[in-house]
Subunit: 333 residues, 2 copies
């Protein structure tokens, strides 16, 4: 196995076999993937949850994670937000010619560790290589299958009086990746929150129909996700900025970079809308689960400004939050 | 909806919503995809077949198809080769900034048509945009789920005496894409064979355990796939070059380009290994199915040269075929 990935490694011939056998299977191998068939045969007899995401984050190593961990957690999280218990992932690589094999090895090892921690099997995969200048190091697509455990989660279930919860501090991933791009600003204290949310989601599934919707606020951040909850409904979401957990170093970095933590991507946080009656119970469930220690109730639903998200500022004034208009942080995931 | 894709279209905010609502859903929409959740809820109560492939073909339009059709057919085919009836696909785009929206529209329409023809639903998707010079127009990943109809297909089932069949002419896709890259060589007579193989595969499922293995010889071509059948076994595969169906224009193009049709990618052909007793029946099943009119028995299995593939040339001599060593045709799919 050479140190540098070449076009030959994507040919489908000997070099591809060598790459898979020497670099990928040692890290990711399991009885399903090891078959190396064109597709994987899965066991399942329930309703399924199926999701996909491509990851193009730049740089592909960043404080708190890398593209491999992100690619596994991202799809695991999409399944969990839809009420599924994640079970199987596919993992497909688009590699730029010239990538150091060691970088790929680290990324794959990181994906394998994240999959093990999240309890999912990477069941099938694919490898392509493109010419230098036609890609950017490494892009990863994952698709995932989960078994449906909590059916019916949807913004359509939201009603006035419901509470909005977040599982922890916001803005960590976006600021960590931005700082990784600016050598002058590197800070040891900032790191991505990249993590699998399946345990936190499953803790909330016990609320049954009192759990209305779950969503992980990635690209576009908390503000954009809340807008998606309210749009085309008769509900408004009121966000109390005071109660929003933000690390001081994230707030400082946002000030320096001219960013708003509400629009920064998160990769290890969930937003949940829960009935008022069970909001305290939901908060306790989150706080009692690893990764949810900083959970908070950050707002509520009413019908005063249908379709809108209103932020109550620390000064007691109000502003309307809209969806992210452009690419505040391109290639954040 | 602007004419040019910008970084903003991958932001996850308004522009992304606009791209999905105005360009993608009109072509691909269905009740599952229209939910636009992070993941899709599927109905299924059988063993599953799950596959993924990224497509980076250059150019992304070529005679006989485009990257959209290819991305759908490629994953449909991987599922069918594993004995699955394809049901659901994911479709994830990595778009280079500056891509004409019209190109994307054509590609998406083509994917939608291919999905309809193959009887699959595109159940979930994702869109990312990268900077100019960090991608190449458009890359597509598809992952797919099928229900297992013909379990146990594997090269492990192959025994001496078995026959090798191909569903039609070989080398069409590889030569068509290569010629599309060389304006001087363009020929109206050459086009990709890109098509869904699920109907042809399903025709053969009726053979039960007399059908040993199915594989679509894409990257690396027929020679590489046959090598995968023989390697690490006590079997050899003998290929009779005389009986291999190759269009005259493909043969001419290969001569000009210095290629071997046996190593050229196919995107609408399958190789099947079948017991000798039912080989004629298998041939009739293929010939009676659309896309299988040119099917042929092209070889057999023995145990004379374990692990090897031997080609019997038209002159009556023999040569050993090995796996494709490098990237004969980079970015062919």
């Amino acid at each position: 196995m050479e140190d540098i990935i070449s076009l030959d490694h994507g040919s489908g011939g000997k070099k591809t076999s060598s790459l898979i056998e020497k670099l990928i299977l040692p890290a990711l191998g399991n009885p399903v993937l090891n078959e190396l068939g064109d597709a994987a045969v899965l066991k399942g007899a329930e309703d399924l949850v199926f999701s996909t995401d491509s990851f193009v984050v730049s740089p592909y190593f960043f404080p708190g994670g890398d593209i491999g961990k992100l690619a596994v957690c991202g799809t695991v999280n999409d399944i969990a937000m839809q009420g599924g218990i994640p079970k199987y992932l596919s993992l497909a690589l688009i590699i730029e010619e010239g990538l150091p094999a060691e970088d790929l090895r680290r990324v794959i090892a990181s994906a394998a560790k994240a999959a093990e921690e999240a309890g999912v099997i990477i069941a099938t995969g694919d490898t392509k290589v493109v010419e230098r200048g036609k890609g950017d190091g490494i892009f990863i697509n994952t698709a995932g299958i989960g078994f449906l455990a909590c059916p019916g989660l949807s913004p359509k279930n939201i009603r006035p009086g419901d509470k909005v919860l977040v599982s922890g501090t916001v803005g960590d991933h976006g600021t960590a990746v931005m700082l990784a791009r600016s050598p002058l600003l590197v800070s040891a204290e900032l790191k991505s929150d990249c993590r699998a949310l399946s345990a936190l989601a499953q803790a909330l599934y016990s609320l049954g129909p009192d759990l209305k919707v779950l969503r992980d606020p990635t690209r576009g951040g908390v503000a954009t996700t809340l807008c998606e909850f309210a749009e085309n409904t008769k509900n408004s979401v009121v966000l109390d900025e005071k109660s929003l957990p933000v690390r001081p170093q994230v707030r400082s970095a946002c000030d320096i970079l001219g960013l708003d933590p509400l629009y920064c991507a998160n990769e290890g946080k969930l937003l949940a809308v829960v009935s008022a009656e069970r909001a305290e119970e939901a908060l306790a469930l989150l706080k009692g689960t690893e990764g949810g220690e900083d959970a908070a109730v950050i707002g509520y639903v009413d019908d005063v400004h249908p379709g809108r998200v209103i932020e109550k500022t620390p000064l007691g004034t109000f502003r309307i939050l809209t969806k992210l208009a452009g690419a505040q942080l391109p290639r954040i995931c």
